[in-house]
Symmetry: D2
Subunit: 114 residues, 4 copies
């Protein structure tokens, strides 16, 4: 089955979900949350979209590889924002997002434009 070839990619997506959830949770406990507002928003979008991407790959969806193009984009946006902050949870999240973005980049397909 197709999804057996994607174990590594799926694992990177799930690692990214975990890192984003951890980062959003930690951001909400920071003293200066204001500075973290954009980070919290992007963490959430990135976690939701990576989690959905993993599910689509697991069920061998016809849209899975096009979905990865979008997944790469949100991972890069989230990595860019997180890398601006010195906190460990942000730096770890930025790294997980970059690894995931690169993996998505290798496997994505262009989205059919009609």
């Amino acid at each position: 089955m197709e999804n057996h070839n994607h174990q590594e990619l799926i694992q990177k997506l799930l690692n990214c979900v975990a890192a984003c959830e951890n980062c959003a949770l930690a951001c909400l406990h920071e003293r200066d949350i204001q500075m973290m507002a954009q980070c919290i928003s992007l963490d959430r979008d990135c976690a939701d979209i990576c989690a959905q991407a993993a599910r689509l790959l697991q069920r061998d969806s016809v849209i899975a590889h096009q979905y990865l193009l979008l997944c790469e984009e949100i991972c890069r946006l989230c990595a860019d924002e997180c890398s601006k902050h010195d906190q460990d949870h942000c730096q770890q999240c930025a790294e997980a997002c970059r690894i995931c973005a690169d993996a998505c980049h290798e496997h994505h397909e262009p989205i059919t434009q009609r």
Copy 2:
């Protein structure tokens, strides 16, 4: 807030989710499910992706309009498959998917390619 401008689009996305869930459920009760396997798969992907799109619009996500490009694509794929079947639930689902795809088409943005 941005999301106030998108009430109509969000409603079409949620209508599409409901039509896809209804169609998948009805397909599982058809006598010849075999013929419906592809329909069930696409219904599920389409419902998941449209539901996520509505959430992204509601929270004014930076990725929302790029997400709509993908959402349009799965709606067209699901509409194409459903329109092959004569059952009411398939015909209604095809119609909801087409309406949703057209609405996504009006609001989507190209996905940044890096």
Copy 3:
């Protein structure tokens, strides 16, 4: 089909999702986000759980009515927190959560304990 009987409940669940997303978004733009941290967390959990409840009802899931028990609980927790804050988005969210909790209460079933 079962889900036809649940249109009103499903609508209240979806209204609650929209109110929670709107509230979380607005909280992230408040000057004193710190005070809103718990609200943002509960909004998110409540939106996710109500959205899932709507999907389970739409697909006539065997677990749907047990799920409503949990859904009621998160709606009450979110309403309690939101009602502490004077902002319109919090007051509106508290109201949507209470309406949704009451609707879940009418339809839920006890969870089988084994």
Copy 4:
């Protein structure tokens, strides 16, 4: 952080999601899908609910441990159905569901009834 204590539980939830997605996909390709209709439905509910449970634990949600009660129930229902079928994907899914249900059982809290 709380979620660090739950790595093993989260892994069992994610294994269950993967097994359910794999089983649903394989069921849709079986010659006698009719017999598999209930299995496909339960696989889907179980995957959705376990995935949500993992997210709630990762973000240290106040509702996470109550959610596990419901998660245990859908895992037991899915395990019961899958164990009726001889196919490898069903047997593997039943096993993953049982392991996950037992893990949920250890960590769940009763749902507050108001």
